[in-house]
């Protein structure tokens, strides 16, 4: 074939193809389902390998299954219906897309052209908040949308919810925070609630109801939603009601934990499967205790794989957690496992001639386990001001109110001589003032460690204190540091330094009338009285004998008068 013939055939073909090309190019920019335009798009997008690397290096698949697309509700709309900006002249080959989510948001905006906000709100109110975020495709999908009625028809409750919630949708809080309402189906199936339906917990929601709720913050959402748990878990909640955690929450401390803080939400682990929940969940807030726990005999046993070794909840309880500071409640935590502690202590901690459990118990009442068993701790003697009638410690707030002062001036109010230490007379003055103001008190004594960290440093039996004179001696080591403890509403304790001889005075006999430590709380004045009594006792015979010696001549004379000395 010569060159002229080849050019002629090429021109003929070009003239034949050109009208088709022009027509197709025109169709892309048109609204309505121009199947030819769609076909042209699909010419490339039916390639399974077609994808685009986004700026954040995510891969955006661009493959469209043509048959499925044709069956979808938008099959008749065609590509140009939702992608009006994509033309042959302006194809995203040149468009820079940051991420999949940005792309989703941008293409979702195209939905609002047909599906107006008002229309969506009327159909399902939750759209109001979701549509504003422009994440239609996250719930509804993109190219294979079959209509919600069809998609949800015959779908079980959970799957109905997951239609939207399996997507990474989120909820906006008033403070600008965003709360993910995405639900990992697999995670929930493996959770303790795997067999439950969504509406078992989310009772206000159903296939026909999806109330719009607004929360100030993610935290508020968690707190409010903890009531979802109570309905089934009434027993633990009853315990939680008396816990210091709920008490803190009621006092406005939003950091105090609710159910989901320890148990998680949809990934709710059952305590039967998660043996560490009583440790790991506590560490989320109380991480500063962990090092001392790990160094303890309990932590070491756990590390070695002893599943019976205690975790936080073993001693502190899981739900009815109350402040252990200045109470003897924590002792019950120890005794849960160490049931024979009384018997074991009674082997050496007893008073002859008979060993009774009450004697060891008397020690347990006023000496915390950690005082003797915490390795390296520095225990102190602590007096706490309690209401005589109820036996409950008087809180700092109550004390400040009665004394008409504030927290900063409390010490100065009690320490009237200004020597920065509370002495016995000042304890008496405080006791008297409280009594005058109608508050009858008892200063309860206790030997304890002063920090929670020290309380966890439990060592082996061999390291425990077993020397009576550590407490029972006028110069006892454990009475060198003495404090007045005042419980604060946040569960912490304020320690006011007291004089080491605060209990060795007649001034504290009445205020601290319920605490006594043989040999160490004795009043020195009585020692002086004892010596004076001995001296007085000796002086009586000495004086009498002296007079008898002086008067002996009188007696001799008298005997002589009776007939002389015999």
């Amino acid at each position: 074939m010569d060159n002229k013939k080849i050019i002629s055939i090429f021109l003929l073909l070009a003239f034949m193809i050109f009208p088709v090309y022009v027509s197709a190019a025109k169709g892309v920019t048109e609204k309505g389902g121009d199947s030819k335009v769609t076909q042209m798009c699909l010419a490339c997008h039916s390639d399974k390998a077609l994808s685009k690397k986004l700026m954040n290096k995510e891969i955006l698949p661009l493959y469209i299954e043509s048959n499925e697309f044709a069956k979808s509700v938008h099959g008749k709309v065609g590509c140009s219906g939702c992608h009006p900006n994509i033309t042959l002249d302006n194809h995203p080959q040149v468009k820079k897309i940051k991420s999949k989510s940005e792309y989703s948001a941008s293409v979702s905006r195209a939905c609002s052209v047909c599906h107006t906000a008002e229309q969506l709100r009327k159909r399902q109110p939750i759209h109001t908040s979701l549509a504003a975020k422009g994440t239609c495709v996250e719930c509804h999908g993109s190219h294979f949308i079959k209509g919600m009625a069809a998609a949800k028809a015959g779908v079980k409750e959970n799957q109905y919810c997951l239609t939207c919630h399996r997507n990474r949708i989120s909820m906006a809080m008033k403070n600008g925070e965003s709360l993910s309402v995405y639900v990992d189906e697999l995670m929930i199936k493996n959770s303790a609630h795997g067999k439950l339906q969504c509406i078992d917990c989310h009772k206000n929601f159903s296939k026909t109801a999806h109330p719009i709720r607004s929360f100030n913050s993610r935290r508020e959402y968690s707190i409010v939603n903890s009531e979802l748990c109570w309905k089934c878990h009434a027993e633990p909640f009853k315990k939680y009601e008396v816990s210091s955690h709920l008490e803190q929450l009621k006092k406005g401390n939003t950091k105090a934990p609710t159910c989901t803080d320890c148990h998680g939400d949809h990934a709710m682990a059952g305590t039967k499967n998660n043996k560490n929940i009583g440790l790991t969940s506590c560490n989320a807030c109380h991480a500063d205790m962990n090092s001392s726990f790990e160094a303890s005999v309990h932590g070491k046993a756990r590390k070695k794989g002893d599943e019976k070794a205690p975790v936080c909840s073993s001693c502190h309880n899981a739900h009815d957690i109350t402040s252990t500071a200045m109470t003897t409640k924590i002792k019950d935590g120890c005794l849960k496992c160490h049931k024979d502690a009384g018997k074991l202590h009674s082997k050496w901690l007893w008073n002859p001639p008979i060993s009774l459990p009450t004697f060891a118990a008397a020690h347990f009442d006023v000496v915390s386990c950690a005082t003797c068993h915490s390795t390296g701790a520095k225990p102190a003697f602590i007096l706490s001001i309690s209401d005589r009638k109820t036996g409950k410690p008087i809180s700092e707030e109550e004390l400040l109110k009665i004394l008409d002062t504030d927290a900063d001036r409390l010490m100065a109010k009690i320490d009237t001589n200004g020597n920065s230490i509370i002495d016995a007379k000042e304890v008496w003055d405080l006791f008297a003032v409280l009594f005058q103001k109608g508050k009858s008190t008892v200063f309860m004594g206790k030997m304890d460690v002063r920090s929670a960290k020290e309380a966890h440093m439990i060592g082996g039996k061999a390291d425990a204190v077993r020397n009576c004179e550590k407490c029972h001696h006028p110069e006892a080591e454990l009475f060198k540091d003495e404090f007045i403890a005042i419980s604060k509403s946040d569960g912490t304790v304020r320690f006011l330094k007291a004089h080491k001889d605060v209990l060795n005075s007649i001034y504290t006999i009445l205020p601290a009338r319920k605490f006594y430590a043989l040999g160490s709380t004795s009043v020195e004045l009585f020692d002086i009285l004892f010596v004076l009594a001995l001296i007085g006792g000796i002086c009586v015979p000495i004086g009498h004998i002296t007079f008898r010696i002086i008067t002996s001549p009188l007696r001799s004379l008298r005997r002589m008068g009776k007939g002389g000395k015999k």
């Binding site: 601290a512 040999g519 009594a533 006792g537 009188l554």
Partner: protein, 233 residues
């Protein structure tokens, strides 16, 4: 010389056990309380001895109670309150003897017999001691021995510190009392007369001292100055 039976075997056992226990309890009590000033025993040893002797003293007190109640001789402790003026006069005479008469060589106005052992001063003080102070000391000691076991009673008294306060005050009192008691025991017709009597049961009286039973001033004249059942030889 006449021998007067004053102390039955039960009273003598009770007395000497009481004496030994009191002395050791006072000393161990001092050790427990003043560990920084005394170093006779360790705290544990002192507490052990103190507790054992405390219970021995409680048992001993019951010997006293049972003996005096069973024999009916408890009346020797009871002052004749139906004759208060006469009793007061006798007490004054006795006090005058210890303060003055003994110096000038007067005879002791009281002549002890088995049924009239105590002079009015002894009667009042021993009644107080035996019926109030020793029981109080034993009870407070028992409470301090195990404060939890006696918790309700401890609270009724006003708290463990109040119990301790009573116990310590009585410890001080008995310490002084023991010394004075020992001195008064030497004021018989010889310094050892009363003490030997507490061992033997009999006190030897020289006739010329005028301590014959016919001069007895007790309430139970007629019983005489000898043993109520076995006369001295």
């Amino acid at each position: 010389m006449q021998r007067i039976f004053l102390h039955s075997i039960w009273v003598r056992i009770w007395h000497w056990v009481n004496l030994a226990a009191f002395i050791i309890l006072i000393i161990t009590g001092a050790q427990i309380k003043m560990g920084d000033k005394l170093n006779l025993f360790s705290f544990e040893t002192a507490v052990n001895i103190h507790s054992w002797l405390g219970f021995i003293l409680i048992g001993n007190y019951f010997i006293w109670v049972v003996y005096y109640l069973v024999t009916g001789n408890i009346k020797i402790y009871i002052p004749p309150l139906h004759k208060p003026i006469e009793f007061a006069k006798k007490a004054l005479i006795q006090a005058k003897f210890y303060g003055y008469g003994i110096m000038v060589g007067d005879d002791n106005p009281h002549h002890p017999t088995f049924y009239n052992k105590f002079n009015p001063m002894q009667q009042v003080s021993y009644l107080m001691i035996m019926v109030a102070l020793i029981p109080l000391q034993l009870i407070t000691g028992l409470f301090l021995w195990d404060p939890n076991l006696f918790g309700p009673a401890v609270n009724l008294i006003g708290g463990i510190q109040v119990v301790d306060l009573i116990h310590v005050f009585l410890w001080i009192f008995f310490s002084a009392f023991m010394i004075v008691h020992f001195y008064l025991a030497t004021l018989g017709h010889t310094p050892m007369a009363h003490i030997i009597a507490m061992f033997k049961g009999y006190e030897e009286i020289h006739e010329e001292n005028g301590h014959g039973h016919d001069e007895g001033h007790g309430h139970d004249e007629g019983h005489g100055d000898t043993h109520p059942k076995e006369h001295s030889h």
